[in-house]
């Protein structure tokens, strides 16, 4: 890769960004569910040039034992960047940044997972950045929540996530690498769409009060869009397997469901 140079401008005179997007336009996004065979659940996301794979294992027995929580499952997120994911080789030792992002991802996923259903166990989420081009923590959250759903882990909602930033005085959605590096700041955020809760909100750089409010609004709108993509990706993965299931033989199916494993644990009343 050629050495990076700061572009002359991030916003062109016509008001477009250096990759031709409008300020509120996201990069092309492609999400896939069930990309790994060995993991209990997995998903990949391609967002512009960013490419991330997330794998979920568990709930399973927790090692080391001393991390056990008696009333809930432990959520362990490991965010890692491949050595080849960035222009200069990334040194393979876990960096401070990776540890922080692992924690940030865990914190934004924890509120949606029903961890209390699996006390003493662990849910492992491994996120690997194959190629980094800005917005990896948000893309990682998108992929991780899909992978959790694919693993059959009960959760309140999928978690869409996006970063809103500022470059040359304009608010921009879904920052690319250059906008991130040479812009004036960014605000990664993640939401629970149906209750409009915000589960992740960070800020880097300086924003005025008005800018933050506007950025949050832009982020929430983009998250709604991302959430639709997530739902489609997830349904697609299962619809494909479902194949030609027609409505003609309902009864064949019906009692298979009736023969359900969970029947005995119906809670008393709620």
């Amino acid at each position: 890769m050629s050495p990076e140079v700061k572009p002359d401008y991030l916003i062109s005179p016509e008001g477009l960004r250096n990759d031709g997007r409008r300020p509120d336009e996201m990069r092309p996004i492609e999400m896939k569910v069930g990309v790994l065979k060995q993991a209990d659940g997995s998903a990949s996301i391609r967002q512009g040039k960013t490419y991330i794979i997330a794998a979920v294992y568990g709930p399973r027995e927790l090692h080391p034992r001393h991390l056990t929580q008696n009333d809930r499952a432990y959520l362990r997120v490991v965010y890692r960047m491949a050595t080849f994911s960035v222009p200069d080789r990334k040194r393979p030792a876990p960096s401070r940044r990776e540890k922080e992002i692992s924690m940030v991802i865990a914190n934004s996923l924890r509120p949606v997972i029903f961890l209390e259903e699996f006390p003493k166990s662990v849910i492992d989420v491994f996120v690997t950045v194959i190629q980094a081009d800005g917005g990896t923590r948000c893309a990682a959250i998108n992929a991780a929540s899909l992978a959790l759903a694919d693993a059959g882990i009960p959760m309140r909602s999928l978690v869409p996530s996006v970063a809103v930033g500022k470059a040359d005085g304009h608010l921009l959605v879904d920052l690319g690498d250059e906008e991130d590096k040479y812009g004036q700041g960014d605000i990664p955020m993640a939401t629970i769409p149906h209750s409009d809760e915000i589960v992740l909100l960070q800020q880097d750089g300086s924003f005025t009060r008005e800018e933050i409010m506007e950025a949050a609004q832009m982020g929430i709108t983009s998250c709604k869009y991302l959430h639709e993509l997530q739902k489609d990706a997830l349904k697609l993965a299962y619809a494909r397997k479902e194949g030609e299931n027609g409505g003609d033989d309902d009864d064949d199916y019906e009692d298979d469901l009736e023969h359900d494993l969970g029947e005995a644990e119906i809670p008393g009343d709620d």
């Binding site: 009960p154 309140r156 629970i192 997830l234 359900d260 969970g262 005995a264």
Partner: protein, 318 residues
């Protein structure tokens, strides 16, 4: 009061399923008079309860489940049993497995690595499941092989009132036990038949959401049996028939198709010994084909099928 899904629609976590006086059952949760899905699965309405049958996930024990597990620890008067999937190690107390008086050293009866069929007698999420092993069909398993499938697909393997599993047993004449935890034990004298059974279970797992599965598995097995027949007849019935396909071709077919599935951890047990006396077969359903002199003979299987067909139909009309 409003419903937001069609019957058996695939729903995703966080999807709004119902509003109003509905109750959330497994796979769903309620909040502010609304019911949302908690997992990827098929939404179902029963009365005013909404539930989502998960398509994915680990085995979570529940009382009364028949399971197959492997003993991993012998601890005093307890056996710890690995259920293969899920975070919890089950325990089986000697009192719940042996008739008294029993020896202090319970590893004389069952040791590490033994595979057992047991029932879950109690489960809470803090202490892990407790098992018991007194009762019909609850025993240590000898011979045969194990395979594991996704526990969420077990209901499909069993079929409505056992239709799928009894079809497979009738057709292949194998002994098999399906644990709710996704572990399946298969034993047959003929390794080829065993592979065929594995293939059938794999097919069910892969196509678990499709309909008419029982029929398709049935057709597949019939087809494969026809191919196998030549070789089996030559092995077991040296003279009887000779219209089967050349032995070698039939030989190749089955293994090639079943083997390369990498996600199934099937453990081929030691060679099935033909002199094992088939004992009482522990089953999901109560009917058990007597194994003693049964051979995978097509001529025998055929009339069986004819009487099975209408039965199946009758059930499905209810």
């Amino acid at each position: 009061m409003a419903l937001f899904f069609t019957k058996r629609e695939i729903v995703v976590p966080g999807q709004l399923l119902a509003e109003g006086r509905y109750r959330a059952d497994v796979g769903a949760y309620g909040k502010d008079e609304k019911v949302y899905s908690a997992v990827v699965g098929l939404a179902e309405l029963r009365g005013n309860t909404v539930k989502v049958v998960p398509l994915q996930g680990v085995y979570i024990p529940s009382e009364g489940d028949l399971i197959i597990g492997k003993i991993t620890i012998v601890a005093g008067n307890n056996w710890k049993v690995d259920l293969g999937s899920g975070p919890y190690l089950a325990s089986l107390h000697a009192n719940n497995a042996l008739r008294r008086p029993y020896d202090d050293d319970i590893s004389r009866y069952m040791g590490i690595g033994d595979v057992i069929v047991a029932e879950v007698s109690a489960f809470d999420r803090n202490s892990g499941p407790f098992l018991f092993m007194k009762g019909r069909g609850l025993q240590k398993l000898e011979g045969g092989m194990l395979m594991s499938i996704n526990p969420a697909k077990v209901p499909r393997v069993i079929g409505r009132r056992g239709s799928m599993i009894s079809m497979i047993k009738d057709l292949l004449r194998v002994q098999t036990v399906v644990g709710q935890n996704g572990i399946i034990w298969i034993r047959s004298r003929d390794p080829k038949i065993m592979r065929l059974a594995v293939k059938a279970f794999e097919m069910i797992e892969a196509e678990a959401h499709t309909s008419k599965l029982t029929d398709r598995v049935h057709d597949m097995l019939k087809e494969e049996l026809k191919n196998l027949k030549g070789s089996i007849d030559e092995d077991d019935y040296p003279s009887d028939e000779d219209e089967g396909p050349p032995k070698d071709e039939a030989f190749e077919e089955a293994p090639v198709e079943t083997e390369p599935e990498p996600e199934v951890e099937s453990e081929p047990a030691p060679e099935p010994e033909p002199e094992v006396v088939p004992e009482d077969e522990p089953t999901e359903t109560k009917e058990e084909p007597s194994e003693v002199e049964a051979k995978p003979d097509k001529a025998k299987a055929k009339p069986k099928k004819v009487e099975e067909k209408p039965e199946e139909k009758e059930v499905s009309e209810e």
